[in-house]
Symmetry: C2
Subunit: 214 residues, 2 copies
């Protein structure tokens, strides 16, 4: 999973000609991830073995470890893809908006995007597993890094190759992710699985973030 996949085969720059091989690889990856989530929801994360997951995805146990280094990693995999769409939403916000406002709207749109299906329910259940918590947080941290870069770009910062950003973008990213995490936590703890309630919670969070100084 390195930065730049060459994608040499016959393609100019679009990088869209992936070939059957690479596509199959991606299919296997998502198949494993989805099987991991499904089985974990069904039997509880603790009671699912890697062998069951790889069987469900119709690959060998050894192959599983060629894609993920642990069961938990496979379960959390979905978050990475979701993170990408958040970044896209942020980039699409008008340049006139303040960073915090752009972040607020991007997050809210992001919630709308994925709230339709049952992924939210999946998140709610998985979040309760103590074994999963560390990896969940690690996934958050990874998204936080990407978000920091996106914010730095929005602020007109130049990004060095190592991906390090200034203090302000890093802090904004960290605070935003922390806020989202808090809002999610409070939403899942409450009984209501109403999406509007989550939106309201997120709005509160961003209101508070903007008023820390006072």
């Amino acid at each position: 999973m390195s930065t730049a996949t060459p994608t040499r085969p016959g393609s100019r720059e679009t990088g869209r000609v992936v070939g059957r091989r690479e596509r199959k690889k991606q299919e296997t990856r998502t198949a494993l991830s989805e099987a991991a989530v499904r089985l974990s929801l069904e039997h509880g994360v603790e009671n699912v073995t890697v062998e069951q997951i790889s069987d469900a995805a119709d690959v060998s146990l050894r192959t599983f470890f060629n894609y993920f280094s642990s069961k938990e990693e496979a379960v959390v995999e979905g978050d990475a893809a979701r993170g990408e769409t958040l970044l896209d939403l942020l980039r699409d916000r008008p340049a006139g908006e303040s960073v915090l406002t752009a972040l607020r709207h991007a997050v809210l749109e992001h919630v709308d995007d994925m709230a339709g299906d049952d992924r939210m329910d999946a998140l709610r259940l998985l979040r309760r597993s103590p074994t999963l918590l560390p990896h969940q947080l690690a996934a958050y941290a990874a998204r936080e890094r990407e978000l920091g870069v996106a914010i730095a770009e929005r602020l007109g910062e130049s990004i060095p190759d190592d991906g390090s950003v200034g203090l302000r973008p890093a802090l904004l990213a960290a605070a935003t992710m922390a806020g989202v995490r808090v809002a999610m936590q409070r939403w899942t703890d409450g009984g209501s699985r109403d999406r509007d309630r989550l939106r309201a919670g997120l709005n509160e969070v961003f209101d508070e973030l903007g008023a820390f100084g006072s």
Copy 2:
């Protein structure tokens, strides 16, 4: 280390009488944790087995798992104790200060407290281990919860038994921990292991946190 309590065997309530038994237990716990840290620094976290740790602490391998459920948990154990002192420092801040100011000073004092010895160096090295990252974040999350409660108390909130707090304390705690994490990250990434530079970074962080709205 921080066995600061006089352990008077007949002082107050029944819960405070420690006895030889419980003390021995605590000694074993810290012995395991310190051995884990020391060996990890020496050979790298990946190359240390639980058996080596338990041998170094002079207990059986099975006993190790009676205290910690994994090697990483033992390594991160020290953070929990450190978290306690931060809470104490926060409670000692004068009531007149704003929450954010109190947090700033508590964190700065906390850094001074532990910066003398080589624990900071230990943190710097351990933070680079990818296996350890998730557990490190989980430890941060645990401290964040406690900090949220302390902040809620400072704000005069009543805390229900389940430890849940209002949005503002939760958010303040999350943002503070995120800020500390960012400052630490940038400090360890930079070459200088000067403590004053860490203090400066933390001050910047709190300045930024207070200015999110603008």
